[in-house]
């Protein structure tokens, strides 16, 4: 039996209609052998977390290019905790200044990938971190 593929939510939140990056990531993860669930645009943090629960996801990748990252990322962290799903690996990407990256990681976002991040680096991160998650939950 082949190992069950990692399941990753790729999400876009709030008033942000730019999903080319999210689609590139989704495609790269698909090609790395993962099952990618794309939420579509304009999601609320609650919608994203409900999706992760129903899909039994190992990770959530949130793309934000609107500048609202300091609002939306922490709301997803909060929702995950509230729904007893703090084990889901939550990471993100977008046009996010370094000082905000540091603050978001302090708040519980596991990693932030900014423009120029190599796709392989993102794949490696997910395989490593979500692989640990898999060992945890089976």
């Amino acid at each position: 039996m082949r190992a069950r593929p990692l399941r990753i939510i790729v999400a876009k939140a709030g008033l942000d209609g730019h999903d080319r990056g999210a689609k590139v990531i989704a495609r790269a993860l698909r090609d790395a052998g993962m099952e990618v669930i794309y939420t579509g645009l304009f999601q609320t943090p609650e919608q994203i977390v409900q999706t992760a629960i129903q899909e039994d996801a190992d990770g959530i990748g949130l793309s934000i290019l609107s500048g609202a990252h300091m609002t939306l990322f922490p709301l997803v962290v909060e929702q995950l905790k509230a729904q007893d799903a703090g084990d889901v690996v939550f990471f993100g990407g977008g046009t996010i200044p370094p000082e905000d990256v540091a603050e978001l990681k302090r708040l519980g976002v596991r990693e932030i990938f900014t423009p120029g991040a190599p796709l392989q680096e993102i794949v490696d991160f997910i395989e490593r971190e979500c692989g640990k998650h898999r060992e945890l939950v089976g």
């Binding site: 593929p5 399941r7 698909r30 099952e35 629960i53």
Partner: protein, 308 residues
């Protein structure tokens, strides 16, 4: 293998109606570890109405799903949705995008949506779709809506699983001979012509209508409904057709025959899967490529204690 303690904890959470337990149970079934869960929950299933929705890629299956979920929710029914998309034959990865049409239902506690990758299973479903439907049923959903992969002509497995099968077609997709072909056109309990505002919609309706007229059906003759899933046009009529079919199934006793068939199908699927795994293992052990493939197959079967 999962320990019994893990299974017991999961069943307790399932009993407490925790959505995460249902989600985890479906994952275990997908990994081939669902047997103890299904055995524990089987007696509780059988109450839900299962509706299958199939049709070619881009016909609007997910949009129709969203519209049907909306309709079912106005009637107060709890709905589980299973949406299957294909896995890559090369990387085994998948892009599951059917949820995009269902976002309005994401935070409705009485709607549970699960995307499934086909993981190499042919026939339009995933190997564990039947298990997932059963788990949703046992969890207490009144309606389980199963959306197949974008189907070609021969992905007809959904008809074995669903009580009512909807085949959605779109205008402008072939001439009048297409609707006469075997396969998917034979499994519909209800035909839907979606995108009914399309200039060629009436032509397709005429072609399906005349195909229905010349075909030899039993007691149930497939209904034909025109919809615009995006606006909701025709969805009330579609729901009414589904309900009429449910009444027919119950009054004619056909529902029992379908249940037996679905059961047998599932048993075949499980047993064949186990044998396939055993053959796979025997083949790994038997590295020789001597003789012809038939002789080798006989050798593998003998090694498993099977004599033809």
């Amino acid at each position: 293998m999962k320990g019994q303690a893990t299974i017991d904890a999961l069943l307790r959470d399932f009993d407490a109606s925790k959505p995460r337990a249902l989600a985890r149970a479906i994952s275990l079934s997908e990994s081939g570890l669902g047997a103890p869960l299904i055995s524990a929950l089987y007696a509780r299933a059988g109450r839900a109405t299962t509706i299958g929705l199939t049709g070619p890629p881009g016909v609007g299956k997910s949009t129709l799903s969203a519209a049907l979920v909306r309709k079912a929710r106005t009637l107060g029914k709890k709905v589980g949705v299973i949406s299957v998309d294909p896995s890559s034959p090369f990387t085994h990865g998948a892009l599951l995008g059917d949820r995009i049409r269902l976002t309005e239902h994401f935070t409705d506690a009485d709607v549970f949506i699960r995307s499934m990758a086909s993981r190499g299973h042919l026939g339009g479903l995933a190997g564990a779709t039947a298990d997932a439907a059963l788990l949703m049923d046992a969890f207490g959903f009144d309606v389980v809506l199963i959306e197949t992969v974008g189907a070609g002509q021969s992905e007809v497995e959904i008809a074995e699983l669903a009580q009512t099968t909807i085949v959605a077609l779109q205008p402008g997709s072939g001439d009048s001979v297409q609707v006469l072909k075997a396969g998917i056109m034979e499994i519909a309990d209800v035909f839907v012509v979606n995108k009914s505002d399309h200039p060629m919609a009436n032509q397709l309706r005429r072609e399906i209508r005349s195909m229905i007229e010349i075909a030899a059906y039993g007691a149930w003759v497939p209904e034909l409904v025109a919809t615009q899933a995006l606006t909701g046009d025709g969805i009330d009529e579609l729901w009414a057709a589904i309900e009429r079919h449910a009444v027919y199934l119950n009054e004619s006793g056909e529902i029992e025959r379908r249940r037996r068939e679905a059961f047998a199908h599932q048993v075949r699927h499980i047993a064949a899967g186990r044998i396939g795994d055993l053959v796979e293992r025997a083949l790994d052990a038997d590295a020789s490529i001597d003789g012809d493939p038939y002789a080798a197959a006989a050798r593998v079967l003998r090694s498993l204690g099977i004599r033809e």
